[in-house]
Amino acid sequence: MSKPNYLSFVQPDFTPFEIDCGRIRGYQYAGRLEVELAAGRLTREQTLEMYEDMLIVREVEDMIVRLRSGAYDPLPGYNYRGPTHVSIGQEGTAVGACTALHPADRITSTHRGHGDSLAKGCAAIRRMSEAELRSRVPGSTAGGAALLEEALEDHVFRTIAELFGKDDGYCRGRGGGMHIADFRIGHLGANAIVGGGVPIATGAAMALRYQRSPNVVCCFAGDGAYANGVVLESLNFAAQAQWTNHLAGDRPFGLPIIFLIQNNLYAMTGRAVDEILGVRHLARRGAGFADNNLHAEVVNGMDALAVFDAVRRAADLCRAGLGPVLLDAVTYRYYGHSLGDPRVEYRSKEEEAAWRAVDPIDRFRAALLAAGAAAESDLAAIEQRVRDRNTRAALRAADAPDPKPEEVLKFMYTTSRCDAVPEPHRNVRVLDAEAAKVKRDKDGRITYRDAIKEGMVEEMLRDHRVIFYGEDVAEYGNAFKLTKGMLEMFGRERVFNTPISEACICGTAVGAAMAGLRPIVELMYMDFALMASDQISNQAAKWHYMSGGQTTLPLVIRASVGGGKGYGGQHSQTLESVFAHIPGLYVVYPATAADAKGLIKAAVRDDNPVMYVESQLLYSEKGVVPEGDHLVPIGVADIKRPGRDLTFVGWGPAILDALKAAEILAKDGIEAEVVDIRSLVPLDEETILRSVAKTGRCVVVSQAVQIGSFTAEIAARIAEKAFDELDAPVVRVGAKDGIAPQSHILEAAFLPNAQDMVAAARRIL
């Protein structure tokens, strides 16, 4: 393989020209049921299954509507507490799409996702082998059709149980209808953040591409999402030239993803037509992201067959490496945003009647009869079966046990770790083994910067699932030359530049982790993490829990702190306290080269999402770092200097200042102990408390501003758990409660230093 690097040569060329956006076509499907059957694209059984699946969706949602008014006869008076974002009217889109997908294809969905979830499950279950079916209903003794029926009923039951918040629900009552997921059939989660699932789907598609998988991702999202930044970032991310041009080496392959817009015309209540969008057809978005318009077309979402046809063709394109594909399926939501929405403020009764007149289920039923695919009695039998099945499932769900209150935190974090790499992932190809090699000085020392790289490189050599991407990390070797040589060593398949799309960088990492990779992503400055805060805080942090432990999120987000370099307010923030406040994330911040390497390696191997914070101030600090497998366990503090009179506890660059402060105090015979927590989450409370028990005095230090800082968390825990050990109040040293200034004079006044720590120590000695 040739070197992956390339140099641009774009000539100035200002010849007048016109952009021809080509054509985006709509409602071109002219098929009918008879035609699909005759062409063999659908069997009679499949059409009946589609009819049944649409009914299953509608029955569950109709049940929700009735439960809300006490009118669901099988459960009179049942107190349904869940959300009520029903998709009644949109069944044709969900079922049409899922019928066109393979069982192992993935979907992501939305807060209005009962239909997608039920349809994907039904479609997958109907194609399962007997062994696969049995694994879904382990207790069953049935076989054949009866086993299939049990699996379908179990699917409906687990869905309803999740809506009811039960322990038997798909997500063990942790997710509910807005976050329902079934990873076994490729459902990577409904998402209650509008647009939040789109980068996840994109990341999953990126993983499928990397894994050479034959599968595709169908990303369901509404019209409202297509005005959201991260969705537009995702469209661009998926359409990047580097997936398909010469940079892709021997396998140019577009991301296998179908962006399926469930365009029900209303972003909650914002009107997609005439009000909150500038385009009449969202399919136009395709023209903004790829010269092929992302194969965009407008599809009749009320016609399951039209959606089936479009998704089948789109999936074929994706499987051929010609993705991504954008489908704008126009459909309609009969009810409001939720059942609390009376709809009368923003749309007319006449409009609703007109859309109900083209109901996808009624139309499909008529088509089945017209095509002679089913007799009236066949359909009546299906309808009865759906109703009865739903009744049984609902009764069972209502009686099912609630999750145990004492297990409220179960599934917050996983204890699993990749201690041994499974065989297929050990096979790692290296282009240039020397390119990213780190050289030690005569004392065996390397810089903090190189220690991070060495850790990443070792983990990428160890496990093929580890990939690394971010802004300017490839040829340029990142903004701080930290990743220099990694592209040359591993190739662009595993080390690549991204667009400046922080939300999408983090979101794709979530999707890739869900799909089996172990990505490391880089945020050039920690300040930019705020651009990605939904993906970090609502997605990466929450999916293990919200899925009831179905998935793990083995990903690392490296965030570099620029404080101390005179970069001003938007490039200098020490924000780890913000992310330590988000349960579900691990947050680490090494202070030395050895810890930098040990922690990045541990982070990569951990199955929890890890926010790995590093300081540009420390990049050139040198230390002795063991070669090879040197791991620092996450959640274990380190005593950087022992002492008996006073404890400095903190993390990051403040540790170096604390060590200096300890030196100064030592001249007066005061022996300060310096405890480097290294991990904010999980926090090694025991080591801190033990040190405080020894010294009786504690100064908590960091470079973070004081207000809301994690230093306060540590101080509070000491006060709570070691009160009787204290000889003086716990004090804190941090940056001033302000914004990092550019002037180095001002910044020196802004940031804490060793003298501040000495002064704080003397106040309590």
Partner: protein, 454 residues
């Protein structure tokens, strides 16, 4: 606007009171004059009536609560009326750990400021400075400034950290101070049985204060038990007041004492005769009468001074010291100089009975101008008394004893009673005291005098 019901100030010197019992509940209708609640003061229990009509909207201080006088204890108004937001009343510290009385009396002594002349004396003489006691009774005991760590070390060592001098900020006792103290106290050489140490820890006994009775001074469990038994107990509120007032008086008033013996042989005979006739008089009644008459003759003894001014009272309000199990009270016979012996007797008897029942009102215990303390029943030859604050003298009356007395050259056995006058030397001198006490004696020895009384 609802009315705030305040804790009354039942006596001149009352700083705080405890609510014993509520007679109304929240929501009950209240008429003017209804009994709202019952309080315990430092002197007695009393019932408090309502000044207001309406509904008892809220009880702020519940039964058992002790608050300073004038603090709001309840609200009376119309149902549904909003109660104004107000800080909760400062609760006085619970009764058990009563702070020690102030070590030194207030330098000013009596409350009356010296410079501006005092307005006409109130019927109830202000005698003692309430300010002298205020800080001690209402403020919490000074909090020991000690770090949690040092406190724990002290607890582990089973010592009381209070005597340790703190070297930390604001004098906070730090661990090093505890360690230095232990070293200085020879803590390491202390020998104590584990059981003794354990008991001492549980009971909060400072083992440095123990003397071991075991071998080589080893502290044993009995030593701890003894220390627990001998631990100081808080004084009752009544005794604290007694202690404070008498200390005040005895340390700020220059007392001198004059003793005489009165021959009561004839008076006793007369009294026996009266008794046989069904008259109830006691010896005290006669003494009281004699004192009242003598006071009219010697008004300097019906007076008080603060060392700069002298208040001479125009009426005699005679205090009678009554000993109770719980302490001493001094009910006051008002306008004793207007009373006949019979009236004196009846008033005294009623007051004594009320005192024994704990039913004296604060007004019945204040405002005396002269006091008699009679220990005649207690078989004492002689004693001296401490002048009641706000008065100028007190008469201590001892038991009557059969005594051989030389009379007209022969020895006779007579019923002799010693009386000792304690007087404020700032007011009067010895010669006046001698004349005064002999005037009393003469009245008791002269049948012509007391036959006129009864």
């Amino acid at each position: 606007m609802p009315h705030a019901v305040a804790m009354p100030k039942p006596g001149q010197f009352t700083e705080e009171c405890t609510i014993l019992k509520w007679h109304k509940r929240e929501g009950d209708p209240v008429a003017k004059g209804d009994i709202l609640f019952e309080i315990e003061t430092d002197k007695a229990n009393m019932e408090v009536e309502s000044f207001y009509e309406g509904t008892l909207l809220k009880i702020v201080v519940s039964e058992g609560g002790t608050v300073p006088v004038q603090a709001t204890v309840a609200w009376i108004g119309q149902p549904g009326e909003a109660i104004p937001a107000a800080p909760p009343p400062p609760l006085a510290p619970p009764a058990a750990p009563i702070p020690p009385p102030p070590a030194a009396p207030a330098p000013a002594g009596p409350v009356v400021p010296a410079a501006p002349p005092m307005p006409a004396p109130a019927p109830v003489a202000p005698a003692l400075a309430p300010a002298a006691s205020a800080p001690a009774t209402t403020a919490a005991p000074a909090r020991l400034r000690i770090s949690p760590r040092a406190r724990r070390r002290a607890r582990e060592a089973v010592i009381d950290p209070a005597p340790i001098l703190g070297s930390g900020p604001g004098g906070r006792i730090l661990e090093r101070d505890v360690m230095a103290y232990l070293a200085a106290q020879g803590y390491d050489r202390l020998r104590i049985s584990p059981a003794a140490k354990d008991l001492a820890r549980r009971e909060g006994v400072d083992i440095l204060r123990l003397r071991g009775s075991g071998e080589a001074g080893r502290i044993l469990i009995e030593d701890v038990r003894r220390a627990i038994a001998e631990r100081p107990r808080p004084m009752s509120r009544m005794r604290q007041v007694i202690a404070q007032r008498l200390t005040q008086s005895f340390t700020t008033t220059p007392h001198f004492f004059v003793t005489v013996s009165a021959d009561l042989t004839d008076l006793l005979k007369h009294r026996r005769r009266l008794k046989e006739l069904g008259e109830p008089y006691t010896v005290t009644d006669f003494i009281a009468m004699a004192v009242v008459l003598a006071l009219r003759e010697f008004p300097d003894f019906n007076a008080r001074t603060d060392g700069r001014q002298v208040w001479t009272f125009s009426k005699v309000h005679l205090g009678l010291a009554v000993s109770l199990d719980s302490g001493l009270v001094v009910p006051v016979i008002r306008n004793a100089d207007d009373l006949s012996l019979r009236e004196l007797h009846d008033t005294a008897a009623a007051l004594v009975e009320k005192a024994r029942a704990g039913k004296l009102t604060p007004d019945e215990m204040t405002g005396g101008t002269f006091t008699i303390s009679n220990m005649g029943m207690l078989d004492v030859e002689n004693f001296t008394a401490i002048i009641n604050p706000g008065e100028g003298a007190i008469l201590a009356v001892a038991s009557t004893q059969e005594t051989p007395v030389a009379r007209g050259g022969t020895v006779e056995v007579r019923s002799m009673m010693k009386m000792t006058l304690s007087a404020d030397h700032r007011l009067v001198d010895g010669a006046a005291a001698a004349r005064f006490i002999n005037a009393i004696r003469k009245r008791l020895e002269d049948p012509a005098v007391w036959r006129a009384w009864a």
